[in-house]
């Protein structure tokens, strides 16, 4: 009986082709919008996560002073970090893969007629490991260069293109601030990081070279720590915090005078915000789905009035009210489900092209597709119920007399 009724509903829908199409349109647009917005939103989330991942996997960044309290800048009074702090972390903290201390500055770099201002980092080879830089051409620092603080440098792709254009930078002499520096390596471009900063605009030198010749002191600005995979950056950060409090003699009750930034935590926050935004967009689109449902109810109510005589005939020749109700309900469900399927196809197609146009990854969201399908069928049930009940409750005598 259900099957025969579905066939009856399909025939009725085909018989009124244009009207059925217009009826479905609301659901098509609603479902399409939900699918497209959620897919694009998820693509954006994936992109942001990926970009943050580029900063370094499981990266913890330790710096002196605090940034969070009272809106003031870095605590000037806080004592700087020392190379010994980095060594202590490497030695005493469990779950650490690599530690890199960095003396950071910025300087004007000059080659031939070209010059630019860029960040100059003094560190050793573990810096590249922790931050996920890979050598494109040339090499990293030799042990002798690191130990003696030789004037050697590894440059990022942006510096290379700004100063050297197409020329091979390896072996050239680059002036960094006031010192001449031999370019030994070129890094593979990493692209923009999550917050739009260019990760390839840098010059890296051995730490002692930077400390001695550029900053003029033996402070270090940051300690980069790569937590071991699966160790949980939060746990490692807490261990480092305990160690540093001890080393810096922060007694109980005093706040930290250093900051540990956890990239995984930042990634989580940004991803969370992006996910919330996606959900909001989806919810707005879902409103149009409800409007689409009301459209179906509207047309079904008109259809019941228009087909009053037909309903009268069916009732007179032996249909139960419940059977007439089922017929109209199924018609509404088939209409809305069909609209849902068309909407899903259009939404996926639209989000695919949108993802391409916005240079976002195309993310297929099977859960949303399934949800949209179920929801569109549900729209048919909810908004088909009222017209179907109206049809079922018609008096056959009145219905047959209806013109």
């Amino acid at each position: 009986m259900i099957w025969a009724t579905i066939l009856m509903a399909l025939r009725e829908i085909r018989r009124n082709g244009l009207r059925s199409l217009l009826t479905m349109l609301g659901v098509v647009i609603g479902v399409g919008a939900v699918i497209a917005l959620v897919s694009v939103g998820r693509g954006a989330t994936a992109k942001v996560t990926e970009d943050i991942g580029k900063l370094g996997k499981n990266l913890l960044t330790v710096s002196a002073g605090t940034f969070s309290r009272g809106g003031g800048g870095a605590g000037i009074s806080a004592p700087p970090l020392r190379i010994d702090d980095a060594n202590a972390i490497r030695r005493d903290i469990l779950g650490v893969d690599a530690v890199a201390a960095a003396a950071a500055s910025s300087a004007q770099v000059v080659f031939g007629n070209s010059n630019q201002r860029t960040s100059v980092t003094g560190s050793d080879n573990s810096f590249f490991e922790v931050r996920g830089y890979v050598v494109d051409k040339g090499r990293l620092f030799s042990r002798a260069e690191t130990q003696s603080g030789a004037a050697a440098c590894v440059i990022g792709a942006t510096v290379r293109s700004n100063l050297f254009q197409a020329r091979d930078p390896i072996g050239q002499s680059l002036r960094v601030g006031s010192i001449a520096c031999n370019v030994v390596g070129l890094l593979v471009a990493k692209g923009q990081a999550g917050m739009g900063q260019d990760q390839d605009d840098l010059v890296v030198m051995p730490m002692r070279a930077v400390q001695r010749r550029i900053t003029g002191n033996d402070n270090i600005q940051s300690i980069f720590v790569a937590a071991r995979e699966g160790e949980g950056t939060g746990v490692v950060a807490e261990r480092i915090r305990g160690l540093l409090r001890q080393r810096r003699h922060r007694s109980e009750g005093l706040d930290d005078d250093f900051t540990i930034r956890d990239m995984a935590e930042i990634a989580e926050t940004v991803t969370g915000a992006s996910t919330a935004l996606t959900a909001l967009l989806g919810a707005i689109a879902a409103v149009s789905l409800v409007v689409g449902g009301i459209g179906i109810m509207n047309i079904m109510l008109v259809s019941v009035t228009e087909r009053t005589r037909e309903i009268g005939i069916r009732l007179a020749i032996g249909a139960f009210g419940s059977e007439v109700m089922l017929q109209f309900l199924l018609e509404a469900i088939v209409l809305s489900t069909l609209g849902g399927v068309i909407g899903i196809c259009l939404g996926l197609l639209g989000s695919y092209f949108a993802a391409n146009a916005l240079a976002l990854p195309f993310v297929l969201a099977p859960d949303i597709v399934a949800l949209a399908f179920v929801f569109s069928a549900l729209v048919g049930v909810v908004f088909g119920y009222l017209p179907a009940r109206k049809a079922a409750n018609l008096d056959p005598i009145e219905a047959l007399r209806h013109e």
């Binding site: 025969a4 018989r15 005939i313 069916r314 007179a316 020749i317 032996g318 249909a319 009210g321 059977e323």
Partner: protein, 235 residues
């Protein structure tokens, strides 16, 4: 007392619409017995109560008071779905306006009552074809109502009423929309069905020529039966 009831028995049936001042007595105490195999025409001017009586006989409506027995079942006691079950088992309808489903072939129209009776597809088609052959439309099975003449449409409607093999055929002004030649055609078909297949026919009409095809004539006036005559008694 083991007296068997006739197929149809109305006793003191009343039907009233509205209340108080505006009360309309559509039926005002009808007593009527119709035996199996009769061909009855109900006549009367509009407002005489003949259509109301027809609706009650056809289990489309319920009396306000009185008892209606159909095939030994006390109709007046049944719930709504019970009326539908009675219609399914005993009654076929033919209407004045044919009331076929538009844009639906003659075959599908005739099959429709069987769909609601859960008859399997193959048997449905076989029985529908047989019913269409009975009314002489075996070569029009795939035609939609709009492709058929009025007489042909009414014959499709009769086939639809017959396909369930009902005991009673209820015809409400079956020739109301037909010219005289088509009227003749349809009435002869009804007469033949009554004579050869023993189907009880109750027909409402206001045309004496049409009523003349029936063997028994009832005339209604103001909700009561004015006269009840058999063919032989008519002058």
């Amino acid at each position: 007392m083991t007296q068997t009831r006739p197929l149809i028995e109305l006793s003191q049936v009343h039907k009233r619409y509205g209340e108080g001042e505006s009360e309309v007595r559509a039926l005002d105490g009808i007593d009527l017995r119709i035996e199996r195999g009769e061909f009855v025409a109900i006549m009367g001017s509009s407002g005489s109560g003949k259509s109301t009586c027809m609706n009650i006989l056809g289990c489309l409506d319920r009396p306000t008071a009185g008892e209606y027995h159909l095939a030994d079942v006390l109709v007046t006691d049944l719930p709504g779905d019970g009326l539908t079950m009675l219609r399914r088992h005993y009654i076929g309808f033919v209407f004045q306006g044919f009331n076929l489903l538009a844009r639906t072939s003659a075959l599908e129209n005739v099959e429709l009552p069987l769909v609601y009776r859960r008859v399997p597809r193959a048997e449905r088609e076989e029985r529908a074809l047989k019913a269409l052959a009975l009314v002489g439309l075996e070569d029009r099975v795939d035609h939609a109502p709009s492709q058929l003449s009025g007489g042909q449409q009414q014959r499709v409607a009769i086939a639809r009423a017959l396909v369930t093999e009902p005991d009673i055929l209820m015809a409400d002004e079956p020739t109301g929309n037909l010219d005289s030649a088509r009227t003749q055609e349809v009435m002869e078909l009804l007469q033949q069905l009554n004579r050869e297949r023993g189907i009880t026919i109750v027909m409402v009409t206001h045309e004496p020529d049409v009523a003349a095809f029936a063997r028994r004539n009832l005339v209604f006036r103001d909700g009561r039966i004015l006269s009840d005559t058999l063919a032989g008694e008519r002058a």
